[in-house]
């Protein structure tokens, strides 16, 4: 299982439009019957895009796999194959690393001025903006996420991320440092070298931007392994990046599976840095392989079981809508999904009733269809896993309020599912389900909810809903998580650092913090003779 990551302007565009009418009735959507997926699946909308790139991109050229092998990429709406893609293994990784090594050691990329690098990234952002429609269509086709979400929030966010990192390229500052004695001390921030990056399938383009943006801004070269479920959009944008002027070998993209392509990249002796986003289980393997090979530093963005905590002074309607969004967004396939909804006992009943009603109004169907909120899960494996967890919820005596079943007979559609009376020791309250399954839990007071919210091996994110400033301030410090959203959720911006406590990962992506992942710090010391001051 690979995994996750969230978008973006979502809370500003999609979410805010949703929030404006939490009490929206079915009437508005009368042309779309509830769970109308079966019909939608039978008449799938044909995406307006060609699949042009299916080979590896190594040293600026599209090439077949060394073995000649390919693997299928699917349309999760139907489970049908949409393309055969070059399947990378150790030999392809070797070739890609060697291209990246040469581009770093001898090529123009780290040697050109930061401003020139920044111009190339800006030109790339402009090209992506021009190709937004095709890219969004390809993303939806291969991933199943709503087309409107891809086009209206993820593509603009992608462009925004590259503008942001282009702006950093010429502002990466080392320090001069005071010496305890007559020394002149400087700290150089140097590119770290060849970066290996492994990205998941839930936000293929945004994860590309989170990884590739800072690494390039800092002057590194890259070997990127995409998720086997979603290899297509990365190849498309990588081609645009070369069109924008990226020298060959700076970004190499290899498609393939974790054990056969990911592992050789992680274990490679000539890769200087590894960044991985995916499951906690795989993250552990990544860290171990890095330790056993050349001790490359590792950043990990892993799983979560993020609490969404609603206090009794919160506006219930808003909290319901946001809790719904926090869990169901992107088919529930978000590492930071608010998958434990803690509700204060005084408003629990009202909240539950409204949360259930909202889930039942959720529009599931062909993600290319306008107004559809939820598409299919990514693949059969995830689909079956989510259904297994739903069974587990029922068996552990949580109350199934709605949903719980597959929709239709084709593709990987699952009903929006809500469990109430969820207890902390149930599997559905402990494991990352990564699907449209909301677990609602009741709490009495702030001390209790802090304790319970933190009683998890994860620590990625949390939502807090309250009007009380003291409650908000206390919660933001007490929660052992990398992001706390207060009266909002899934607000992602290029400048906001993101990453986990505990088993949710190591390091931070985005913001100024992301640059540290791709820089070596070199101290330079020399004696000072008769300095005017030290």
């Amino acid at each position: 299982m690979a995994a996750r990551r969230l978008s973006s302007l979502v809370s500003r565009s999609l979410a805010s439009s949703l929030l404006q009418s939490p009490g929206r009735t079915c009437g508005r959507w009368s042309n779309l019957s509830r769970f109308s997926t079966a019909a939608a699946v039978q008449e799938l909308i044909t995406p307006q895009v060609q699949i042009s790139y299916t080979q590896h991109l190594i040293n600026g050229k599209f090439v077949d796999a060394a073995s000649g092998k390919t693997f299928p990429a699917y349309d999760p709406r139907s489970g049908e194959v949409i393309a055969y893609v070059a399947e990378g293994d150790a030999e392809d990784i070797n070739r890609a690393v060697s291209a990246a090594r040469k581009a770093f050691d001898e090529g123009p990329w780290p040697k050109m001025t930061a401003y020139e690098r920044s111009r190339i990234l800006l030109r790339f952002a402009d090209l992506v903006e021009k190709h937004s429609n095709e890219l969004a269509a390809l993303e939806t086709w291969n991933n199943g996420k709503p087309f409107e979400q891809a086009l209206m929030s993820e593509l603009p966010m992608f462009v925004r991320l590259f503008h942001y990192y282009a702006g950093w390229a010429d502002k990466i500052h080392g320090l001069t440092v005071p010496g305890d004695g007559n020394y002149h001390i400087q700290v150089l921030h140097e590119p770290i070298g060849v970066a290996g990056q492994i990205i998941p399938w839930n936000f293929p383009l945004l994860m590309f931007a989170w990884k590739v943006g800072p690494a390039l801004a800092c002057g590194n070269t890259i070997v990127l392994k995409t998720a086997e479920q979603t290899p297509l959009t990365a190849l498309y944008v990588a081609q645009l990046l070369h069109e924008a002027g990226l020298p060959p070998g700076v970004l190499n993209v290899v498609s393939g599976y974790g054990p056969t392509a990911g592992a050789p990249l992680v274990a490679h002796m000539d890769v200087d840095k590894l960044a991985f986003t995916g499951s906690t289980e795989t993250g552990k393997v990544v860290l171990e392989l890095a330790a056993r090979s050349n001790l490359k530093p590792v950043t990990l963005e892993l799983g979560g079981k993020s609490p969404f905590i609603v206090f009794d002074d919160a506006d219930v309607d808003k909290a319901v809508e946001l809790a719904h969004f926090a869990l169901f967004f992107n088919q529930g396939q978000c590492c930071c999904a608010g998958s434990r909804t803690f509700v204060h006992e005084r408003i629990y009943d009202e909240f539950l009733e409204k949360a259930k009603a909202r889930a039942m109004r959720r529009i599931v169907g062909d993600p290319f269809k306008k107004g559809v909120e939820q598409g299919p899960q990514i693949d059969v494996e995830q689909f079956e896993k989510v259904l297994r967890y739903i069974r587990s919820g029922k068996e552990s005596n949580a109350t199934l309020e709605c949903g719980g079943a597959r929709i239709g007979s084709k593709g990987f559609f699952i009903e929006p599912t809500v469990f109430s009376n969820v207890k902390d020791d149930m599997l559905i309250a402990q494991d990352e389900i990564f699907g449209p399954v909301q677990s609602i839990l009741k709490f009495k007071d702030i001390d209790e909810v802090i304790k319970r919210a933190n009683e998890t091996r994860y620590g990625l994110a949390a939502g807090v809903f309250t009007k009380n400033g003291d409650t908000a301030n206390r919660m933001m410090r007490a929660l052992k998580v990398g992001t706390v959203w207060i009266n909002c959720f899934d607000v992602f911006d290029a400048a906001i650092p993101f990453g986990g406590y505990k088993m949710s990962g190591i390091g931070r992506e985005k913001g100024i913090y992301s640059l540290n992942n791709y820089l070596q710090v070199k101290a330079v010391v020399s004696p000072l003779k008769n300095p005017a001051w030290i």
């Binding site: 401003y115 502002k171 206390r474 400048a495 100024i512």
Partner: protein
């Protein structure tokens, strides 16, 4: 229509004040003439701002700041607009370069590089607009505290004539990135490119009232800016004398914040181990670039005694080969001084130098009988109490002298009221490090000179002013720091 040598001709499109997104006549209806320094001929009549016009511009800027979209849009949105402005500038390089050359007598070849470089500066600050970080703080008590970096408000910018394009953007770019609104007073000698930039700003989508440009004279329009009760910050680049007046006006009016980038008498120190030819070339460029009309000009050149004679010989040879003439000609290295007043001032300093007993090695006279051309001029045996060693001449006049030891060079380099920049030429790392820390100046160039970059902060010590331009530092001139503090209960850590 101005008619220029070499087939250059240009239609002067913008000669009015730019207030609240419109080109308007001045309230008084007055205009002033801007002159081509190659000939002394009039290029165009430009609307002259007086106090009433500055009031209108401030009112527009105030409204744009208090109620307009500019400070309320995100840094990244402001950045996108600045990026677009940069692209528009790149599309008009020739036209703007022509304006600056006509207006200031600058080399056309140089202006054609300067205009794209201001577009690059805009892009730098476009990329900075979403990277203005406050901090979350440590408190001794049980408090949660953080800082907000807020745009300071309405900024008054007063800019000089020697780099009309660069200095316009040195001021305007970081303040726009920070979210401020502004009133810009360009120099009366060089108002044309600023008005053109204002026109492009509007096309790029900078909202009306955010950027206002009011050409006029220092005593009238400039002083209206620096004494205005509704301007929150004044940023001035110009002479030290005028800088004092700006600061006094700020003190007497509303105590607006002030930053000043003023004059200099910057030393270039050449040590015995230097490559003499390279050092002589650096020294020559250091004083002759832009006709010596540069605040950081290396106007005092100190050369160590071991190589002095050879250095002097090479320097004079190079100075004699320097080509002065029409700045539109591609082989010309030096155009005319900006106006009659500067021209006469420089010639009078040259007379002072001769009277005070310095040795005139080369130059010393005006060239031709039309326009404001002056020969590259080098004085040797210059003593520290001579006027030509103390005052900023702002022309192609070098004060050359000999030194024995590093300690002596440091002492003499610091023996000035100014502290803007310094150059060091040496291969010795210890000398470079020690002198870098010992010279009281805001910019030290080691084995180079005139290196200005967007990310390198620049500004003076002592009477050369205060506050830094360029780099992320410059943003802080246009930001207020606000601390927010609140009690925190039951925090798991402090």
């Amino acid at each position: 229509m101005g008619s220029l040598s070499n087939g250059h001709s240009i239609d002067i499109k913008f000669t009015k004040l730019f207030i609240n997104g419109q080109f308007v006549d001045s309230v008084s209806g007055k205009t002033f003439e801007t002159i081509d320094p190659r000939t002394g001929d009039v290029i165009a009549s430009v609307a002259e701002a007086t106090k009433e016009d500055v009031d209108a511009a401030v009112q527009a800027a105030r409204h744009a700041f208090d109620s307009g979209p500019w400070p309320r849009m995100s840094g990244s949105e402001r950045g996108r607009i600045l990026m677009k402005w940069a692209d528009l500038i790149d599309q008009h390089t020739e036209e703007i370069a022509t304006l600056d050359t006509m207006d200031a007598g600058k080399l056309f070849q140089f202006c054609k590089m300067e205009v794209p470089s201001v577009a690059n500066m805009l892009r730098y600050y476009a990329g900075a607009a979403d990277k203005i970080h406050g901090e979350v703080l440590k408190t001794a008590g049980k408090f949660h505290a953080y800082t907000l970096l807020e745009p300071i408000g309405v900024v008054g910018h007063i800019i000089p004539w020697n780099f009309p394009s660069s200095l316009f953007f040195t001021k305007v770019s970081p303040s726009l990135a920070a979210g401020c609104t502004m009133v810009v007073k360009p120099a009366e000698q060089t108002p044309l490119s600023a008005l053109f930039y204002a026109h492009l700003a509007k096309l790029a989508g900078i909202p009306d009232g955010v950027l206002n440009v009011v050409p006029g004279f220092g005593k009238i329009a400039g002083s209206a800016v620096s004494s205005h009760m509704d301007i929150d910050k004044v940023s001035f680049t110009g002479s030290t004398q005028t800088g004092r007046e700006v600061m006094q006006a700020a003190a007497k009016s509303n105590l607006k914040q002030v930053s000043l980038e003023l004059g200099g008498k910057s030393p270039l120190i050449v040590f015995d181990d230097a490559d003499v030819d390279t050092a002589a070339q650096l020294a020559l460029i250091g004083i002759l670039f832009n006709k010596g009309e540069v605040c950081v000009a290396g106007s005092r050149v100190f050369v160590q005694e071991g190589i002095y004679d050879e250095f002097e010989k090479k320097l004079v040879e190079k100075a004699k080969a320097w080509v002065v003439g029409d700045p539109f000609e591609p082989n010309v290295q030096q155009g005319p001084q900006v106006d009659k007043r500067q021209f006469e001032k420089i010639l009078s300093y040259i007379e002072h130098g001769k009277r005070e007993g310095a040795t005139l090695l080369t130059g010393g006279k005006a060239i031709g009988n039309k326009g404001y051309y002056i020969e590259p001029t080098i004085f040797a045996n210059v003593k520290e109490d001579m006027l030509i060693a103390k005052d900023e001449i702002f022309g192609p006049v070098m004060a050359l002298s000999k030194f024995k030891t590093m300690e002596e060079a440091i002492e003499r380099a610091n023996n000035t009221t100014y502290g803007l920049a310094a150059g060091i030429v040496t291969k010795n790392i210890d000398i470079a490090n020690t002198v870098s820390r010992s010279v009281r100046a805001g910019m030290i160039w080691v084995n180079c000179y005139f290196i200005f970059e967007h990310d390198i902060p620049f500004g003076g010590y002592k009477a050369s002013g205060f506050g830094k331009d360029y780099g992320m530092e410059a943003l802080h001139k246009y930001l207020q720091v606000k601390s927010v503090v609140t009690p925190i209960y039951n925090s798991p850590w402090h």
